[in-house]
Each structure stands twice: as structure tokens, then as C-alpha cells.
Symmetry: C2
Subunit: 341 residues, 2 copies
């Protein structure tokens, strides 16, 4: 075993695009595991857009990486020495080993994997990106055969699997990526139905042309302008899966840059849903009965802002739009019939 | 029966805040129903923020009101003369009678109502606003007892019912409204737990203070700055019901002003949902098996962008954030063990 542990530490919180000087290289000695701990050696280190978010000042689903700490990252490691009965030297484990050759980790933080197929698959198709595509598309997005699916960052780790899974489930799939090489790969190798370069000046128009009937599901990995363009193409009752916002991760946009749409939706797993009451038209009697019952019981109070005279409708609407009313505003156009029918 | 039919027509599409001159007053004669039609007289005319949207150039869930057409609106009408067997003079009907004394409508467009309780309730608690609160809160928002619910435009027709229904279902309810009178009404008369004036300079801070544990459900009637403030206070896995965006309906924001978040979500009944893959951690083996199976069958292609050497990690991450990769990027830190365990 080597006795040198090469490490990269977080030296500065990046302001704007990441620079090499935001990292500090250090040579440490190989650490020793205590009871319940395991010494592991890094074989593969995953690079993910989320790494950049962890370098910022905001807590996410994990605390920010501390200044002077080893840079965090998902890894596939080999067990070197174990002080826990569940692991033996030579075992392969997925873990958050970080940017270093050796990591001592609590045994509970290790996920043992069988060496089936290429080891690197543990960080791609079977690891975080593959899992993200699988659950994002099938559980959050609930795709159905025949739907039109648009995926951004489609040539990336998550997007390239997401698009293929959507094809596997019978969807029409349009990928969005940067540059002709990526787009060519998506359509010729991965079987996407179309691929669009978001750098094209007329990208929004091309997207509209590629989805003439609109988009059922948009799987968003990027946020920003591409998100906006896709939003415009959504079909009624369409769904948007907010997976990531890589377009803003490495910018000098002032914090709290993730505190918006769609960044914060991802971070906090929020669901936003629009509706129009007329979609429930066939169930209106159900609502009426419930509402009338609560009113009759005195549990629901009704305040109405009734203005007499059709001639007052224009000004009354103008006021309504600026909060002049309390409760429901309406115009009494004619007196109620004397003997109600 | 009067022979005069007072009408307000849409004279101009408003540019910026609505003006009286956007309407034209006309005196017409009372129309005559044809076969299958019904002559009705307007008793109550509902004024709704959505009216302003219908005056604009965009189709929504209905076509824009045509220039020179009678201004559209929900109404409670009395049947005067019927050429359809289902209706008789004196019947009360909900319909879209518009801004006029008399409307001839197809019998299929009328919804007969029993004269139970005050007639005006047909346009408030039992009509569109009550239905909107009921389905928006219970079906779209799926509230549960004990949750913290925030409602904007809380003193309005929809908001005042929404907040009360949330209280009825055991939630803690915070209303947002403009000015002390409305806020006072919400807490003293309607039983809201708190009410906040969005015009206060420190409104975002007050909202945060009123929801120290965050917001489970935000029922948004306004969009804009209030929406942004509420967004920041959402709990993980919170839900936002996008009911309306009254803050932008009557502005000179250039079109397509509704084509954004949250306006377009409402208009097209979209669902946006953020997620983090680790929420599905206990089901990761399910995903692995499915993904590995598709890879083995050749139906899912895996492209990896493997870079050798830990020393290349900083630059490789910088490139990843700007799309330098195709497929999953990772660092090979150490050679794979020769005899895999």
C-alpha cells in the first residue's frame, strides 16, 4: 500500500465560475481506521454538477463543504482495512470518499456492491445518475407510453439515461444539448427522435417546431433560458420534473441564486401545480353540498361586496383588480324576484 | 318586462391598468330566443380577476373577448322566456350572461339552481370562488390536519373561503392581504391564526417569523413578489397551488405576461415537481436491477467520460459545469484491482 494520500481541499468558496485556485492540493498520510470504521481506497471519483453547489455557502440536502475540508464527491472505493465485521479487504463499496486516494469512513456510510459489469457503471448507469433518471422519470414524472418527453442536458450523465428510458417506455423523446456533436450522438446512437442545440439563435422556435402538439413531460436539468423555452411548449396538464439547474450553478449570479424557480423546487422537493376550477365541473354538486353544509352550520362565513347597478361594473372591476374589495364582489343588476319561484 | 337591454361592450384591449374607456355602453333591444334557446334576465353579475385576463389578447381556457362584444362575466339569471322544455319562466340559472340586462343563451349553457339561501351565494360561496377554494385546497393541495397553510389575497372571494376551509380541516392558517382592515377581519372574524399585510416593508421577514417551521401548502392567488416571498418559506416536500396571479393581470407588463411562473402553470394546469434522488434511497436496488437488465439486453447504452488521474479533477469539474462532457464524467483515481474480489 502506498503511504501517500493525495487530497484536494476546498480553499475558497467560488465567486462566479470555478477556478483551479479554489482548490488546494495537499499530500497527507494514509489515515487509520478506528472501531466501526473502514479504510478505503478510491478507484473512481464521480464528477457531478451538484459538486459545485456543495462548494457554495448554502446548505442543500447536505451541509456546505467546509473551507479547508477535503472536496466532497461520490466514489467507488475498495476496502483496504476494516474494523467492522461487515467488510473485508477487497470489498467494493460506493461511498462519499471525496477527492483523495484514501478515506476512512464509518461502516454505516458504505454501500457494498457486487462487481457485476464494468466497475465504472457503479458511478454512471447503476449509480446516482442512473437512479436519478429512473426515479425522476418513472416516479416523479409518471411517464406513459405515447407521451412527448423533452430532456435538457440530454448528453449528460442523467439526461442521456433519462431520454433512453423514456424511449424504452414508448415515448417520443426530444433531447436538448449544446453543439452538433452531442445532438448527433443523441439521434444516431441513443435513438432520440430529435435533438436540438440550445445555442442556436432560433432555439425556441426550433423547439416549438419539434413538438407541434406540445410537451407532456419536461425533464429539466438546466433551469434558466432553456427551462423558460420548454415551459412555453407545455401541453395542458403537462408535468415538469425539476431535477437540476446546472445553467446557474457556476455563475456569478448573486446568492441566493438557487432560491427561485426551478432551483428551489429541486432543493426542497416542492410541487407546484396549477389548476382551473372548471376541470372539476362534473363534481360541482359535491362541492356545493359540502360548502352549503358548512355555511349552514356556521362554520364557514360568507362576506359579499355587493354593488348596486350595472353602470358601476367598470369601476368596480377596476377596483377589484387592486384589492378594493373584501370578500366576493358582484353587481346587483336587477332586484331579486319578489316571490322566489 | 323592460324593453331596454343595457350592455357594456369591450371597446379596447387594455394596455396597462384598466380604464373606463376600455368599455363602451350601449342600449340595445331585448333579444328573442330561437329554438333550444332561453331568454334570461341578469340578477347578479360576478366580478372576478380573471375577467381582466379575458380582455387581453391571449386565449386562456376560453377565447379572448372579441372587440365590440358584450363584456363577459359569470351571472345568476332568471329565466324570462324559454324555447327549451327543461326551463320555465322564473327558473334561476347560473350562466355566463355577461355585462347586460338580458341574455339569450343555449339551454345547454344554463345550470339550474334551487333558490336555497341568499341568491348571491350562487356567485360566492357556492359558485366559482367556493368551488375554486374547495377543489384547489382538497384535490390539488391535498391538505392534511396539522399542516401550515398560507393563502394570499386572503380577504378576496377565493382566499377568504380557502383559509376557512383549511381551518375547518385542522390546519394552521396564515392569510396575506393588503392593509390592516383586511388583516383584522381575517383574524377576528374568520379565525385565521395570523394575517400579514404584504405592503409592509418587512413583509418577507414577517412571513418567515409567522411560519417558523415553514409552510406545507401555499395557496397562491397573486403571483409576483408575494409568491416569491412565500416560495422561500416552503418546507421540504411542500406544495404550491397555483390558483391565480392577480398581481400581474392589470399591469402594463408586456405580453406574454402570463407565460411564466406561476401564471402559465395555472393557465395550462401544469405540475412542476422537484426531487432529489436520495429520497428514493431505500428503493435503490429496484432501480439497479431494472437498469442493469436494460443494459444487459442492449436497450440502454452507457457512455462514460473517464479521465485518468486525481490531479485532473479540478479542471474536469470546471469543464463539466460548462458542458465539456458527453455522458457520465468521472476520474479514474487508481487502477482497478487486478483480481476482482
Amino acid at each position: 500500500m502506498n503511504t501517500l494520500n493525495r487530497q484536494y481541499l476546498l480553499a475558497h468558496r467560488p465567486e462566479g465560475p470555478l477556478r483551479e485556485s479554489d482548490f488546494e492540493y495537499r499530500e497527507a498520510s494514509v489515515p487509520t481506521p478506528g472501531p466501526g470504521e473502514v479504510l478505503t481506497r478510491t478507484l473512481y471519483l464521480s464528477l457531478d454538477p451538484a459538486n459545485r453547489v456543495w462548494m457554495g455557502p448554502l446548505p442543500t440536502y447536505r451541509p456546505p463543504i467546509g473551507l479547508g475540508e477535503v472536496m466532497a464527491g461520490f466514489t467507488l472505493n475498495e476496502v483496504v482495512e476494516s474494523k467492522d465485521a461487515r467488510f473485508r479487504p477487497g470489498d467494493l463499496v460506493e461511498c462519499q470518499g471525496g477527492w483523495q486516494d484514501y478515506a476512512v469512513l464509518p461502516a454505516d456510510a458504505l454501500y457494498k456492491v457486487a462487481p457485476r459489469g464494468p466497475l465504472s457503471h457503479r458511478l454512471s448507469v447503476l449509480g446516482v445518475p442512473g437512479q436519478t433518471a429512473y426515479f425522476g422519470l418513472l416516479e416523479v414524472g409518471r411517464i406513459r407510453a405515447g407521451e412527448t418527453v423533452v430532456v435538457s442536458a440530454a448528453a449528460g450523465a442523467v439526461g442521456s439515461i433519462t431520454g433512453q428510458l423514456a424511449k424504452l417506455h414508448g415515448c417520443r423523446v426530444i433531447g436538448i444539448a449544446g453543439g452538433p456533436e452531442k445532438c448527433h450522438w443523441l439521434t444516431t446512437e441513443l435513438g432520440f427522435d430529435a435533438a436540438l442545440d440550445y445555442r442556436a439563435e432560433d432555439f425556441p422556435q426550433r423547439l416549438a417546431a419539434a413538438c407541434p402538439e406540445g410537451v407532456d413531460l419536461y425533464f429539466d436539468n438546466v433551469g434558466g433560458a432553456v427551462f423558460q423555452a420548454a415551459l412555453f411548449q407545455m401541453k395542458p396538464h403537462g408535468r415538469i420534473v425539476c431535477c437540476g439547474s446546472v445553467s446557474i450553478y457556476d455563475t456569478d449570479t448573486p446568492p441566493p441564486r438557487l432560491l427561485g424557480v426551478p432551483g428551489l423546487l429541486t432543493l426542497r422537493r416542492l410541487r407546484m401545480e396549477g389548476f382551473i376550477v372548471f376541470d372539476f365541473h362534473d363534481r360541482r354538486k359535491q362541492a356545493e353540498q359540502a360548502l352549503a353544509g358548512w355555511v349552514a352550520e356556521g362554520r364557514l362565513k360568507v362576506r359579499e361586496d355587493i354593488i348596486d347597478g350595472l353602470q358601476n361594473a367598470p369601476r368596480a372591476l377596476m377596483g377589484l383588480l387592486h384589492g378594493a374589495n373584501i370578500g366576493k364582489r358582484m353587481i346587483r343588476v336587477a332586484p331579486e324576484p319578489s316571490g322566489k319561484p
